[in-house]
């Protein structure tokens, strides 16, 4: 039996398992991920590496690039936070209540996925411009929405909403109503039950939805460029800057901005994943 114990101590590439097909599925997954994700991303890195370190650093610290990156990330972050709050409320309404038209609302949640983002951008611009249906009421208060960062945030909320709703919805559906009843028998009010029992249980799902909405929003281009006004240093987003460099045939510069976005996005998503792993371990599911 010494053979068995020694092989146990070593890390083994393949764990013995009753579920067959590990080699096949792992191979497929890696090949697929490489073709679709890793190789194109490596291309970005390789293209920007062609610039040399000094030139890369110059582009990365260029005031206009920095401003565009900042705009991209804070608007995406804010939109994802707003989506996390309202997405949970939408999911709650869809799961907890029966009302006429519930299925229609449920189906409508996915529309931002299906709509060409440019159409969404144009529609939102028409609504929120200072002469638009909604925008005109804000003008009286001295608030302009379209052609400002506020407009960007609204477009990003639009495209990110389904992510939070669709990740929270199934978890909420599975939530054991006895746990809520237990809280009530112990004297907890509805508010106390929601904030100390239900929301903590939904937290990992909300975080997943947040990460997806955020990731999607950082890279969004189509809807934003119509509503943003694209004023340099104010409402110009990084993906637009990349497109402009491409149109100037300045491929390395475009790749450099892309690489910087990639690094930041990866750090943020990785951090979110760590929090998730921690909360899953804690809450005992996942």
């Amino acid at each position: 039996m010494s053979v068995v114990t020694s092989s146990k101590a070593r890390w083994r590439w393949k764990q013995p398992s009753v579920i067959p097909g590990f080699g096949l599925t792992l191979g497929f997954a890696i090949a697929y991920l490489s073709l679709i994700v890793l190789i194109p991303l490596a291309g970005v890195a390789w293209r920007s590496a062609a610039l040399g370190w000094d030139e890369f650093f110059r582009i990365a610290t260029d005031a206009r690039v920095v401003a565009a990156l900042r705009t991209s990330f804070w608007t995406a972050g804010l939109a994802a936070v707003i989506n996390a709050v309202f997405g949970v409320i939408v999911a709650w309404v869809l799961v907890r209540y029966e009302f006429p038209g519930r299925r229609l609302v449920d189906a409508a949640v996915d529309l931002p996925f299906a709509l060409p983002t440019a159409v969404a951008g144009i529609a939102l611009t028409a609504l929120y411009a200072s002469t638009g249906w909604i925008g005109q009421y804000f003008v009286d208060w001295g608030i302009r929405i379209a052609y400002t960062p506020t407009g960007i945030v609204i477009a990003l909320i639009f495209i990110g909403l389904p992510f939070v709703v669709r990740t929270v919805q199934p978890v909420l559906e599975d939530f054991d109503s006895e746990v809520e009843e237990a809280a009530a028998t112990l004297g907890a009010s509805r508010t106390q039950t929601i904030f100390s029992i239900i929301l903590p249980a939904l937290f990992p799902a909300i975080l997943t939805g947040f990460a997806l909405a955020f990731g999607r929003a950082v890279g969004e281009y189509g809807s934003v460029i119509f509503i943003a006004g694209n004023i340099p240093y104010v409402s110009e987003i990084a993906p637009l800057l990349i497109v402009m460099r491409l149109e100037e045939f300045n491929y390395p510069a475009a790749a450099a901005i892309g690489a910087i976005m990639l690094i930041f996005a990866f750090i943020i998503l990785f951090a979110i994943n760590l929090i998730q792993a921690w909360s899953r371990r804690r809450y005992g599911h996942g």
């Binding site: 746990v179 028998t185 112990l186 004297g187 907890a188 009010s189 100390s196 809450y283």
Partner: protein, 345 residues
């Protein structure tokens, strides 16, 4: 706290789950609601807790009408079959939750909440596990946490819904004794729901037998077992054998043969004879008795169980006979119940 249930009716989508149920629970009593699934026992428990509200009737806690009070205001401890613990909280925080959510004036300090939670964990024999999360505990340990959590709010009434239903037989037996201990120490009025008659008879001061939305009988375990008041109770509690009989002049007849058994005051006409398989004596085949042919014979621990075909009626009854009885398949046995009940109909 005394609990009175008065003429309660509860419907779910027009389906009556409880039909005109009344019950008095004495202060400090440990009472079992026993019945098959669908008998309304859990519904009754939830009505007492305030998790559901009756369509008709009222529930009194002492002299107070609790019917209009919400579950929050009733101050009941409720233990669920599947524990319903807060999985994102440590055991200690689960137990302290009921104190933590109290209004400012009534809320003990943080240190005091922790001290009381620790005390309760010690009481339910879970000392040392206070920092664990519920998913790190076994089923029996989880149910102990759930009980400690319910006890923390110093409930007027303790309600348990099939508390041991999800546990394996060994743990169930152990927790049963332990619950009796806890009840004797705390003196809470306790109501628990079960479909396990052994559990109800062993544990409770009084047993409420329910069937199809009604209370069939309320009594001590002895009364329920020895003098069931209806065919439903007789066949639900313990092993039972049943024979259709006719009653003439206060005597029982099976297919016109006298059985030598008294009708116990049941009027002449059709009736049903009930007896326990182990409460019989085997007699000579010549005597007036129930005579049957052995169809199946099974050896169980201390006795032999035989199934008899009785009379031309092709009725089957089961009795227990001594293991050294020479009965074999197809042989005829005559017996008389030592205790029996007769119901008209």
């Amino acid at each position: 706290m005394e609990v009175k249930v008065k003429n309660v009716r509860k419907e779910f989508d027009k389906f009556p789950a409880l039909k005109d149920v009344s019950l008095n629970i004495k202060s400090g009593e440990l009472i079992a609601l026993l019945g098959p699934s669908g008998s309304g026992k859990t519904t009754l428990l939830r009505l007492i807790a305030g998790l559901d509200f009756p369509n008709v009737g009222a529930i009194y806690f002492g002299d107070q009408d609790a019917s209009q009070k919400s579950v929050r205001e009733r101050n009941v401890g409720f233990v669920f079959q599947h524990y319903a613990l807060f999985r994102h909280m440590r055991v200690l925080d689960n137990v302290g939750f009921g104190l933590k959510v109290r209004k400012k004036g009534d809320r003990p300090s943080k240190a005091e909440i922790e001290r009381r939670a620790m005390e309760l964990l010690d009481f339910v024999q879970l000392k040392g596990l206070e920092k664990r999360y519920p998913n790190q505990l076994s089923g029996g340990q989880r149910q102990r946490v759930a009980l400690a959590r319910a006890l923390a709010i110093e409930p007027k009434v303790l309600l348990l819904d099939e508390p041991f239903g999800a546990l394996d037989a060994q743990v169930r037996k152990e927790l049963r004794r332990w619950l009796r201990d806890i009840h004797d120490k705390t003196g809470h009025t306790t109501v628990f729901v079960t479909h396990d008659q052994e559990e109800a008879l062993e544990l409770a001061d009084r047993v409420v037998v329910m069937s199809q939305g009604r209370i069939e009988q309320v009594g001590t375990p002895d009364e329920i077992y020895d003098t069931p008041n209806s065919p439903a109770v007789f066949s639900f509690i313990g092993e039972s054998s049943k024979l259709p009989v006719s009653i003439e002049n206060g005597q029982l007849y099976l297919a016109d043969r006298p059985l030598g058994l008294d009708a116990k005051g049941v009027p002449d006409g059709e009736g049903q004879l009930f007896f326990r398989p182990h409460d019989v004596e085997v007699v000579e085949t010549g005597e007036t008795a129930i005579v049957g042919t052995v169809v199946v014979s099974r050896r169980t621990a201390g006795t032999r169980q035989v199934e008899l075909e009785v009379g031309g009626a092709k009725e089957r009854v089961e009795i227990e006979i001594p293991v050294d009885h020479p009965a074999t398949s197809r042989s005829r046995i005559a017996f008389r119940p030592k205790k029996w009940s007769v119901f008209a109909g």
